[in-house]
Amino acid sequence: MPEEAPPEAKKTKKVRGTVVINLARCKGCGFCIAFCPPQVLEFAEDYNPQGYHPPRLTDPDGCTGCDLCGLYCPDFAIYGIMLKNGAPPSAAREKSDES
């Protein structure tokens, strides 16, 4: 199952982070959505292969990359990353570029 990354963040000062979601692992508990400080996650309409609705980022500009979702996730299916100058860290970006 492919991963979902948010749309490429715009290079504005406002944008500070993003989340990476391993859709296949998600069991739809909703912890990440409920406890996201800027409230920028929601359940996706699609199902993942396990039959759950994984989270999706509703407002890429609002994510701070605080990684609290990453800490809460009982399934290791999501994590937040800080963006430097609007770009993700090299590992994340390289993979994104390949897609």
Binding site: P2, V20, I21, F31, A34, F35, R56, L68, P88, S99
Partner: protein
């Protein structure tokens, strides 16, 4: 939805400490055990310890499966006996950091005797207890922490025996570090686990964790998320509270925080001091020095 891309999994800080190839794990949706593992993985990452020297020992039950998902030397032992296994391991090689990671039924039900004696010895073990108030793996039976009046498959008319106050038990038995958080308190969990990794002596962390499938459903506490929200609402931060006062009742407040953090010579310190003083030069040291390479 944006275009799906391949996951840059390597960037997830916990992957380095997890056996990712074993995912998805066996825990139910909304179960809190995975959250605690997540926090532990981050604590390990931040500890800067040589992870080759960190061992995790589990007993039996849902929480007993933690060992198998962590990419450490890991031992999934028998029901209730993670602590004595860890005891033998730590004494035979004191250079290992030995973490016992298990559940309430395992650690203080069937393994209760080992728990109190390990605390009494003050051997340097880091004991993490997932308390979900029930025996989950076997179908939600009453356990040593089930609150009075709670429903379980073996207390269908409500539990009528009081549960353990685990921080009080641990402190009374001699633990030098005692803390409690819920799975809602993720940053605090990671921080406390980090402190435990550095502490010398028997340290104990109780983590109140949702078992939505069995305990939550039966007691009409809602799903995992509802239980997490309940933990958030009911938690009262009480650092340094007398552990006698931190017992938990069904739907009652949950005292959280670090209750005990004292210094007391550890088992190995006392052993080496005692044997060194009485045997002097004849004392040949601890087991590790003689384990052949």
């Amino acid at each position: 939805m944006s275009a799906p891309v391949e996951a840059p999994l390597a960037a997830n800080p916990v992957e380095a400490v997890l056996r990712s190839f074993r995912m998805p794990h066996i825990w139910c949706p909304g179960c809190g055990i995975g959250t605690t593992v997540n926090c532990f993985a981050r604590a390990l990452e931040q500890s800067k310890l040589n992870l080759d020297k960190v061992v995790v020992v589990s007993g039996i039950g849902c929480s007993g499966r933690v060992a198998g998902y962590l990419d450490l030397d890991s031992f999934h032992t028998t029901h209730g006996r993670a602590i004595p296994f860890a005891t033998g391991m730590k004494i035979a090689n004191p250079k290992l950091t030995v973490v016992v990671y298990s559940g309430d039924g395992d650690l203080v039900g069937i393994g209760g005797n080992h728990f109190i004696h390990a605390a009494r010895r003050n051997l340097d073990l880091k004991v993490i207890c997932i308390n979900n108030f029930t025996y989950g793996m076997t179908g939600g039976q009453m356990g040593p922490t089930t609150p009075v009046s709670a429903l379980s498959s073996t207390t269908p008319f409500g539990c009528f025996e009081p549960g353990f106050n685990l921080p009080h038990l641990a402190e009374s038995a001699g633990a030098v570090y005692v803390a409690r958080w819920t799975t809602y308190h993720v940053r605090q969990l990671a921080h406390t686990m980090g402190e435990m990794l550095r502490k010398n002596g028997f340290s104990f962390l109780e983590i109140i964790s949702p078992c939505p499938t069995l305990y939550g459903q039966r007691n009409r506490l809602g799903d995992g998320l509802a239980m997490m929200k309940h933990f958030k609402q009911q938690s009262v931060l009480r650092h340094g509270a007398p552990t006698k006062e931190v017992g938990i009742e069904l739907q009652g407040p949950i005292a959280v925080g670090k209750f005990v953090d004292i210094e007391r010579p550890s088992f190995l310190d006392v052993m080496n001091e005692q044997l060194g003083r009485t045997l002097e030069a004849e004392y040949a040291g601890c087991v590790k020095d003689h384990v052949p390479d």
